[in-house]
């Protein structure tokens, strides 16, 4: 009697994309924040050229994480404020389909922001960030952040002062992702030989997969009352 998983996921992603193309509510906020973040870091690190080069991958990931936090909060608020999440929960679709639908659209939006700031940072920080392996690291890492972020945004949706709660809940849990992603990116940026960063990239992928599996198992408990 359930609506097929794929149909439900595609419906949710399609709905989010359509609404976003019309309003650009999420992307504009996330992108402007990300660009500001990069500029502010650039000024803050201006005095010390060496420090700036060292910090590039840190800046990249911190910017991505904060921008995605904004996006996740907003995207779930769009569902929660009008009670729309209830309307989805009423439908005969599995809870994991709702989670995965929201995860995919959150991932898509964060990925777009990432693809905007990579070339931008290449220009501002005068260092080539458009390397295949770095882009792959970004694609994997952002997926990890999106899965844990979507789950925790659903969790904090019903808490008092949820805007503040999501970062507090997510940042510590996202630490393994952040750590491995930054390690891999730094070494890739420094043109280090593959043996120095491949392990980090593999670790990042492993953590991402573990988080995805955990989210998959646990999302039902977060969506049901």
């Amino acid at each position: 009697m359930k609506t097929p998983f794929r149909t439900a996921v595609l419906a949710i992603v399609g709905k989010d994309l359509r609404a976003e193309i019309r309003s650009r509510e999420l992307l504009s906020v996330m992108a402007i924040f990300a660009v500001l973040c990069i500029l502010v870091f650039s000024f803050a690190l201006e005095l010390d050229r060496g420090a700036r080069e060292e910090a590039i991958s840190g800046v990249l990931w911190v910017t991505l994480v904060f921008a995605s936090l904004l996006g996740f909060n907003r995207s779930l608020a769009l569902e929660g404020d009008q009670g729309n999440l209830d309307a989805m929960l009423l439908a005969p679709v599995s809870r994991s389909a709702i989670f995965f639908g929201k995860l995919l659209s959150n991932y898509l939006f964060t990925l777009i922001v990432a693809l905007v700031i990579l070339p931008l940072m290449t220009v501002i920080y005068n260092s080539n960030l458009l390397k295949g392996w770095l882009i792959l690291t970004t694609v994997v890492g952002v997926f990890g952040f999106s899965s844990i972020g979507t789950l925790l945004a659903m969790l904090t949706l019903h808490t008092r002062s949820r805007e503040a709660m999501l970062p507090i809940a997510m940042l510590p849990v996202a630490l393994p992702l952040l750590l491995t992603a930054v390690r891999a990116s730094t070494n890739i940026l420094n043109d280090a030989p593959a043996r120095e960063w491949l392990l980090w990239l593999q670790l990042l992928a492993a953590v991402t997969l573990i988080y995805l599996a955990l989210c998959w198992l646990l999302c039902g408990f977060v969506l049901e009352e």
Binding site: M1, K2, T3, P4, T7, A8, L10, A11, I12, G14, K15, R18, A19, E20, R22, S23, E25, L78, Q82, G83, N84, D86, A87, M88, L89, L90, A91, P92, V93, E224, E225
Partner: protein, 244 residues
């Protein structure tokens, strides 16, 4: 109507939020095609009861059976039979009326043809056919409410749950809504609605449940009652002045 097989059976249903009991051992049955008016003070457990019936929330104790399926265990089987109109519109402001309905149609597994046909029909029914392609956020409160009824009707549910559908509606919108309720009754759908506008109750339903302090204080026929005597009954059970 009482002889028909019950489509909804509720036995000793209790729900506690935190430590606050909202429903205490509520039992009743609803026959197929019956309309029930659920009355009671704000915070008296009306919305909670509807959410439990809709499968949005799980009971602390007690049994709910809908169409023979046990809740919340077999809730997936029940979902397709239920339409809920909440006091919130449950719509996406950045999507047009048609897109909103199309999205929910997909979630209910309707095929493309079913959706096109069904959306046209329900939009006609709620009188929004001309505004099908306007964004939901540009709609007035009344229009949003009508669209949200269209959403609840789209998958042709057996049971329609309406939570304070008259709140915030102007006279014209309220009349359209009343029309819709009556036509749903003609289609033999089972309706449970809450309201605190007692004046409307006798015109729309024969049977009323009055909830007071989380318990059923009255369960009976109100078809023959005048609005005034219903108001008196309500005041005696719930205390305080009733809204006419």
């Amino acid at each position: 109507m009482g002889e028909k097989t019950p489509i909804i059976e509720v036995e000793n249903l209790s729900k506690t939020f935190g430590l606050l009991p909202v429903l205490r051992s509520v039992s009743f049955g609803v026959a197929r095609g019956e309309t029930i008016m659920l009355l009671g003070q704000n915070g008296g457990g009306k919305s909670t009861l509807l959410r439990l019936l809709a499968g949005l929330s799980k009971p602390t104790a007690g049994l709910i059976r809908i169409g023979g399926w046990q809740m919340p265990k077999e809730v997936m089987e029940v979902r397709r039979q239920i339409g809920l109109v909440s006091h919130q519109p449950l719509l996406y402001g950045n999507l047009s009326a048609r897109e909103n309905l199309d999205f929910f149609g997909k979630l209910y597994g309707l095929t493309k043809d079913e959706r096109v046909e069904g959306i046209g029909a329900v939009l006609d029914q709620v009188g929004l056919a001309k505004r099908a392609d306007s964004l939901a956020r540009d709609f007035s409160r009344g229009m949003q409410q009508r669209l949200s009824i269209a959403r609840a009707l789209l998958h042709q549910p057996e049971i329609l749950l309406l939570d304070e559908p008259f709140t915030g509606l102007d006279q014209a919108a309220a009349e359209t809504l009343e029309h819709l309720v009556l036509s749903a009754q003609r289609e033999e759908r089972t309706l449970i609605m809450t309201t605190h506008q007692l004046g409307r109750a006798p015109a729309l339903a024969r049977r009323a449940l009055i909830l007071s302090r989380g318990q059923i204080a009255f369960d009976g026929d109100i078809a023959t009652m005048s609005a005034a005597s219903l108001g008196e009954l309500y005041a005696s059970l719930c205390g305080g002045a009733a809204v006419a």
